[in-house]
């Protein structure tokens, strides 16, 4: 008999589901009635003005915030009903990249990236080191292993944050403004990491941003490994483009949901203002 875990392992299974989620801070309503689904291996790109509740959605998914009403499913578990201790298991399969990286400033890059292994597992140190080097190698920062976060540039800190989030091999990665404040070249480097993780590691992603250029880049590119084993980021096929869906938030509600192509041709005045 097929179990819930078997279903979740199938391509296109719903890994994150929001059903009529509501949240308010005192008088300010942040999420009015939000519903969406993230499918396995797909990307959901959440756009919206500052303060529209984009980051709040990620915090609700990870259980850092609780919704006032509605249902939130993550990997087959109702996170809105779990206790903090029960949420720890759900978080094993989630990686959250914070807006400013949120690296532990008293720990080295090695200790930051391997944090979960060092602190929460009994894995032998040699194996943890090997995994840390593997992950840092993936994002091209292996030479910065013993540096402190304060010695890194803004772009490098974001990439280390991505490395820390992916080190435990989560199946869902949540990016909170991962490229905000970065120069275009560094932003593309970070975007390439997002694409590589999605296409080569099979990670489902939710990308929160208000950087349209970066949002479209992630939605319209894909990572491929050529015959020599070299990884390249190339324009996505139409089928691959379908796997990246945009959500535009306005006043706590979704005012648009669709692909990059549909967003480009949207006629809604608010969307046009946002896109201009």
């Amino acid at each position: 008999m097929e179990t819930a875990r078997d279903i979740l392992n199938e391509p296109g299974a719903p890994v994150v589901l929001f059903d009529r989620v509501q949240l308010a801070f005192d008088e300010k309503v942040v999420l009015r009635d939000l519903s969406f689904t993230l499918l396995k291996g797909h990307t959901k790109i959440i756009l919206g003005a500052s303060g529209s509740g984009k980051s709040t959605i990620l915090k609700i998914i990870t259980g850092l915030l609780r919704s006032d009403a509605g249902v939130v499913w993550v990997n087959g578990q109702r996170v809105d009903q779990l206790t903090e201790a029960q949420l720890m298991d759900v978080r094993d399969d989630l990686g959250l990249i914070f807006q400013e990286g949120a690296l532990f400033d008293s720990l080295t890059v090695r200790e930051n990236v391997g944090y979960k292994y060092y602190e929460e597992t009994d894995m032998p140190l040699e194996q943890v080191d090997a995994r840390v080097k593997e992950v840092l190698g993936f994002i091209g920062l292996v030479e910065h292993l013993d540096k402190m976060p304060s010695e890194l540039s803004g772009g490098q800190r974001r990439r280390v944050a991505i490395a820390r989030a992916m080190a435990f091999k989560p199946r869902i990665l949540l990016y909170d403004e991962a490229t905000t404040g970065l120069d275009p070249i560094t932003a593309i480097t970070v975007n390439d990491e997002v694409i590589k993780l999605r296409d080569l590691e099979g990670v489902s992603s939710i990308v929160v941003t208000h950087q349209l250029r970066d949002a479209f880049y992630v939605a319209t590119h894909m990572a491929v490994r050529d015959a020599s084993g070299q990884v390249r980021v190339v324009p996505a096929t139409p089928e691959k483009c379908e796997e990246a869906e945009f959500i535009m938030l306005k006043d706590g509600l979704i005012c648009f949901e669709g692909t990059a192509e549909e967003l480009r041709h949207a006629t809604d005045p608010y969307l046009q203002t946002f896109l201009s």
């Binding site: 990870t62 850092l64 720890m88 978080r91 989630l94 914070f98 400013e100 949120a102 944090y115 602190e119």
Partner: protein, 257 residues
């Protein structure tokens, strides 16, 4: 009729409730796994050995000043040789525990609030939670244990330094012989006094650290908020120590004398 009182009372009740919940969670975290042993050792070192200099100096000068002051008063009654009794009784029962606790509030209370507050405003606490670590177990429990056990140890050192400082003044300024001073130091101390001098620092150490952790973890408002949290931690910690001193003294006088 009393609606103007409702909001502040509610706020205070909410703060007390949140503090008690933090304390309960910390106590549970101290006796159930996971326990972060290397953090506990690190905090014993930071809070304990790191505070040694300030505690040594505080004890030394307090004892010396006490001997100097009381020497003048005792002279009026021809009781200068009793200076050792006064210094030891004052240091062990009251001044040692309270002054050590106040110095610790300034040193470790502010440090804890600033450190945890910075972690809150830079999302490091949320990052810990997202990585599957309970911040109370990882950050509060080691500090609470260090405060609980290092405050009494530091108080004993402070007491001894105070008595030594008193001897320096008694011997070289008041011209009291060493033998007389040291015998009078032990004459006046009863075992109940020692209990009192040792029980108080446990309470103070616990209060200083848990108040600072609570204030630090509730920081909001960026770097300005961190500064505010640091100030609140020192003020609230100091007031808590002084108030607890009164209540613990009342209780101990009733219970052990």
């Amino acid at each position: 009729m009393f609606s103007f009182l409702t909001s502040p009372v509610k706020q205070i009740a909410f703060e007390v409730q949140a503090y008690v919940r933090l304390v309960i969670a910390s106590m549970r975290g101290a006796v159930t796994p996971p326990i972060y042993r290397h953090d506990i050792v690190e905090q014993f070192d930071t809070l304990g050995f790191g505070s040694l200099t300030v505690v040594l100096l505080t004890g030394l000068f307090t004892g010396a000043a006490l001997a100097s002051q009381t020497g003048i008063t005792l002279d009026q009654f021809g009781a200068r040789p009793l200076v050792g009794r006064l210094v030891s009784a004052s240091m062990v029962i009251e001044l040692g525990p309270v002054l050590t606790a106040l110095m610790l509030t300034g040193r470790i209370g502010s440090g804890i609030a600033a450190e945890l507050g910075s972690m809150v405003v830079t999302d490091q606490i949320n990052a810990l939670r997202a990585l599957g670590t309970d911040p109370i177990r990882k950050l509060v429990v080691p500090r609470m244990l260090a405060g609980l056990f290092m405050a009494p140890a530091l108080t004993i050192i402070s007491d001894l330094m105070g008595i030594f400082g008193g001897w320096v003044v008694a011997r070289f300024q008041l011209q009291v012989s060493s033998a007389l001073y040291w015998s009078s130091v032990t004459d006046v101390l009863y075992v109940q006094d020692l209990y009192q001098g040792l029980i108080k620092p446990f309470v103070f150490g616990f209060l200083i650290v848990t108040v600072a952790c609570y204030v630090g973890l509730r920081t909001s408002g960026g770097t300005q908020g961190v500064g505010k949290a640091t100030t609140i931690a020192v003020v609230a910690g100091s007031v808590a120590v002084i108030a607890a001193d009164f209540f613990v003294t009342q209780f101990l006088v009733w219970a052990i004398y």
